[in-house]
Amino acid sequence: MQRKPPDEATAAPARCLIAEDEPLLAAGLQADLAALWPALQVVASVGDGLRATEQALALQPEVCFFDIRMPGASGLEAAQALAEDWPEGPGSAAFPLLVFVTAYDDYALQAFEAQAVDYLVKPVDRSRLAACVARLQAHLADRRDRAAPAGEAQQDALQAAVAQLRGLLAGVPTAAAPRLEVIQAQVGNLVHLVPLAEVLYFEAADKYVRVITAEREHLIRASLRELLPQLDPAVFWQVHRGTVVQARAIATARREESGKVTLTLRGRPEKLTASRLYAHLFRGM
């Protein structure tokens, strides 16, 4: 903050998105931000995790405040989706600075301490929010001051966010669940039993999960979130927020310009995409 006079920093225009399911808290945060950072424009205030990703992608704000516990998708899931779908390349904006907001110990706060740009614990008092605002302003000023060409700075912002989210997702405690042996997919009165070893990959589809084997595909009424703890992470790799692949079924992995990785499979013609959050799984030995 020494390098810049405070009025210049506070005057710097920036746009932000607030995702918070409790309307009063959203209004309160917006009011407090208006007082502490008049130049910050709140471009959207949404109440669920799905719209948080959607609006952030559409409006490309510089700052996002994500509540952790939200309907639709949690703040962490929304951030993951945002990092996976954020456009890259010439002309695209830098990845937003993320601030997570949480009440009590939804997630291990230490994880946020280490990974997030900042996190706030509800109720958020004014002085704590002022410190957060100062930190965000410093980050934004730093981005503007970078001597690097604009494209490279944006690349760095995205890389930093991806690294942060990888750390956060690894730190999310998962409830210990017994390992699954067989997938039971019901169609009318008939239940298909599919041994887990035969499953090439799982793909999230709205309220269902598609279970794909070499011969056919089944639908089960579950979410990947419920399914994941029951799978052996050494055998089934999550490669995207909506895709979990059996490692043995992957034939090749090709790294694309965008940072994503395209996978070809043994026994299936279609290609899968590993998002940039999981691209680090694929590198030569």
Binding site: L24, G28, G47, Y104, P123, V124, A175
Partner: protein, 382 residues
């Protein structure tokens, strides 16, 4: 069947050994320390009395007393261990779990040991003493000898006294340990109950809302604070053992749901149906609270559009029917374990303790168009 279940859980409060070897080691440890303390005391006493009678050789008398005492004590303990081991073997062969106390503490295991000790202790002990001192004691088969009679009498009395004293002490300390474990479990349960009722996430989110409301709308903030005060007071005062009128239960739910309505805004619709004639019906305090919390946390909060929660009471014959229904995500969506399970288990336990088989709690996914979950309680009226 219920009594059997209760009896089976009581010893489980103490750490249970998992194998026959472990059980034997645990028994040996418990027993030997006390035996080693009592044995020299009794032997000193016997040697002193004998010395007082004939006036000489305290050292030899003590040595012989210790020899006989050790053999007796070892015989009793080994017989008990063998008996306990045998009963463990028998239990495992029938597929039953170990019960440490039954075999180790029962008289059935002690009496054969004591009899064996009284028969074999004196002659073997004398042999041992002779071997140590190089002297030749009169044979134990010669019952006319005064010294033989004295030795026998003292051995029998000492064995009986020490067996009774040690077994009683063992049983007392075991009962004490059980009582302590039960007390700890009760305190832990009470704490978990309080924690689940004053869920930090709920409390801090409510305070965060209150903080905003104070600036925006002081009158509404005051009303919200009043609900919070009433909610906290009722939660902290609720005793698990007394009953309170259904109207008080509904008033408590109304406070909680008013707080949730401020937080969730238009996403939460509430409907409370308490017929006036049931207002004074007696129910356990905060019985419905965990069910309403589950409906909010697992039914309505995860849904983007929220939904409705309906709490109603009905009289059917001489029974009270209570329903907590939501239009939320439904049963399949709730994660297994965690807070839900504890809340339900707590309601079930309280109903079972107070009413036995005359009360019930059932959960089902509502089959109508709105879906969601219905928790249904039936209990006797009055």
């Amino acid at each position: 069947m219920p009594e059997a279940a209760v009896a089976a859980t009581a010893p489980a409060l103490l750490p249970a050994p998992t194998s026959a070897m472990a059980a034997a080691r645990l028994r040996w440890r418990r027993r030997t320390r006390r035996s080693l303390l009592v044995l020299p005391l009794i032997c000193l006493g016997i040697a002193a009395i004998l010395t007082a009678i004939d006036g000489r050789g305290f050292g030899y008398k003590l040595l012989y007393a210790l020899c006989i005492g050790s053999v007796c004590m070892a015989t009793v303990d080994l017989t008990r261990l063998a008996y306990a081991g045998l009963s463990d073997r028998l239990r495992t062969s029938r597929g039953l779990p170990f019960v440490l106390d039954e075999a180790a503490l029962g008289w059935r295991g002690v009496i054969p040991g004591a009899i064996l000790a009284m028969v074999f202790g004196p002659p073997l002990g004398l042999q041992l003493g002779d071997w140590l001192t190089g002297l030749q004691s009169p044979s134990m088969l010669n019952l006319d000898s005064t010294s033989t009679r004295l030795t026998l009498a003292f051995s029998v009395v000492a064995t009986v006294v020490s067996v009774v004293v040690l077994s009683t002490a063992e049983r007392l300390s075991h009962a004490r340990a059980l009582a302590q474990a039960a007390q700890r479990a009760a305190a832990e349960n009470q704490l978990r109950l309080l924690q689940s009722q004053l869920e930090p996430h709920m409390l801090f989110n409510t305070l965060a809302n209150l903080r905003v409301l104070i600036g925006l709308d002081p009158a509404r903030a005051q009303a919200m604070l009043d609900h919070l005060i009433a909610f906290l007071r009722a939660t902290l005062q609720a005793s698990r053992n007394t009953l309170h009128p259904l109207s008080a239960e509904f008033a408590h739910l109304a406070d909680y749901l008013a707080l949730m309505a401020v937080r969730m805004g238009p996403r939460l619709a509430v409907q409370l149906n308490l017929p006036p004639e049931l207002a004074s019906a007696a129910v356990p305090p905060l019985l419905l609270q965990p069910l309403v919390e589950n409906s909010i946390q697992h039914g309505l909060e995860p849904q983007v559009d929220g939904g409705r929660i309906e709490v109603s009471a009905r009289q059917v014959g001489d029974r009270l029917h209570l329903d907590v229904r939501d239009t939320g995500a439904g049963l399949g969506a709730a994660p297994a374990g965690g807070g839900t399970a504890f809340g339900l288990e707590q309601v079930r336990t309280r109903l079972a303790t107070l009413y036995g088989a005359r009360a019930s709690l059932t959960l089902q996914t509502v089959p109508d168009a709105e879906g969601g979950t219905r928790a249904h309680i039936e209990l006797p009226l009055g």
